[in-house]
Symmetry: C2
Subunit: 262 residues, 2 copies
């Protein structure tokens, strides 16, 4: 973890990321600010994807949608360009995927950008409330799993929900629910609490994405919807899509506290 | 107010409405259930309108979006047909408007239906908490006004926000905020509380839509975003749109309590 970036402001961090001066997972960066998943698709699919996201607010809470061809956010961060300001991108094209450092060469006037809330945004709220976050302290990416929870389909978009798992001490479960329920724009309340098998996860120490986190005694696995869900759909349906590389989020200027809904 | 419909179930009421056996404002019907504004537009504008709605969750909280050509909701009420189950519809076409009792003759395979939460959905929660609702007791439609609050634009959609005003006793303001904040899907927290002039309303007794409600001593005007906002855009921009007639809402099978977000 780069300690100096934990309390740095988003604009500085985005600049360092775009200049490739800092890379890697952003989970510990810009503490207290909203981080976002990225989905870029052609405008022909934009209505279907946005409708799909609205039907599935747990994995796909929409923070912002940009007009076709516009890579400059107007709400989440104005002094920014989506094409450069993430550390690593994943390009899904004709059934194959590729990792790149910027998407200048992939940008067209028909590209529509969706920014989707990320659970990293809650880290400060959790720690301020005494909730220990193991993956942060171990400098890891939180583990995410392909669950057996079906998402609601719309148009060509459907498939199982990808979920993130954070181990929470048994005495802090209620607090974790209360904090996250107030933040629907960054996944909101947990989608499942307890036995992983009930949502189709056979081995909690073998995540589909991210790092392995071992549960400690007195910890319960708590699961939230995960913004990697659209990436899985892109793979399964052969849909052309540009996304962030897991863990390498877009850091916005929005403060998490300001996004609380009550 | 038809007392017998206050506690009847949505399915029965929709049937009576579709058979034209009961008409008029639905504000006192199906107490405790979610009511919805209707917007139907061509699929060419569907992405822009949905993005616009997401940028403006106060006047346009989306409850459900139907696939192009489908008039049967899958989430808000399955045993229902949008074309018949509202009492009165407004057709905006080539800059003119017309009131009709069903939209069978206007339906096409490219029509996309949006259901947008309505403040009527909070009536039971308010009354259960001791909040007096004047327009219900006087058998009126709540007054709505064209404010000077600009909405956030997307594509061709933009314009001022239409707001609903409910007078709230000064001792119940906090309670009204708490109840409505938990229900973002039916407009959520107030958009303004107090002096109407601060949001461009010159005369609180001259609403642009609905009935006049006189404030009693000890009452404060409280304003929420209103789902008539898209109708104003249709008029101002000459966009073809099918909507409900103000006050004649779509009554869903969703219980308001179940839509509370925390």
């Amino acid at each position: 973890m780069q300690k100096n970036l934990k309390y740095d402001i988003p604009e500085n961090i985005r600049k360092k990321i775009s200049e490739l001066k800092v890379l890697g997972p952003t989970s510990s960066y810009a503490y207290g600010y909203i981080q976002a998943n990225l989905v870029i698709i052609d405008k022909n699919f934009a209505f279907d994807f946005l409708s799909y996201s609205m039907l599935n607010p747990s994995p796909c809470p929409i923070l912002e949608v940009l007009e076709p061809g516009n890579p400059i956010p107007v709400k989440t961060a104005t002094n920014s360009d989506i094409r450069y300001d993430l550390g690593k991108y994943l390009i899904f094209h004709k059934g194959k995927s590729e990792i790149v450092e910027n998407i200048e060469n992939y940008w067209t006037k028909t590209k529509v950008t969706f920014l989707i809330g990320c659970l990293f945004s809650m880290q400060k709220q959790f720690e301020d409330s005494g909730i220990y976050i193991q993956h942060l302290n171990e400098n890891k990416i939180d583990p995410t799993f392909i669950s057996n929870i079906p998402t609601n389909s719309f148009g060509i978009f459907n498939g199982p929900m990808v979920v993130s798992m954070w181990p929470i001490h048994k005495n802090y479960i209620t607090k974790a629910i209360t904090i996250s329920s107030k933040l629907p724009s960054v996944h909101g309340k947990p989608i499942h609490i307890g036995d992983p098998k009930l949502i189709g996860i056979k081995d909690i120490e073998k995540p589909d994405y991210g790092d392995t986190i071992k549960l400690k005694p007195d910890e319960i696995p708590v699961f939230w919807g995960c913004g990697i869900t659209p990436q899985l759909i892109a793979q399964q349906k052969n849909i052309d899509m540009i996304t962030h590389h897991p863990g390498n989020m877009y850091i916005t200027d929005l403060k998490t506290n300001e996004m609380e809904i009550i």
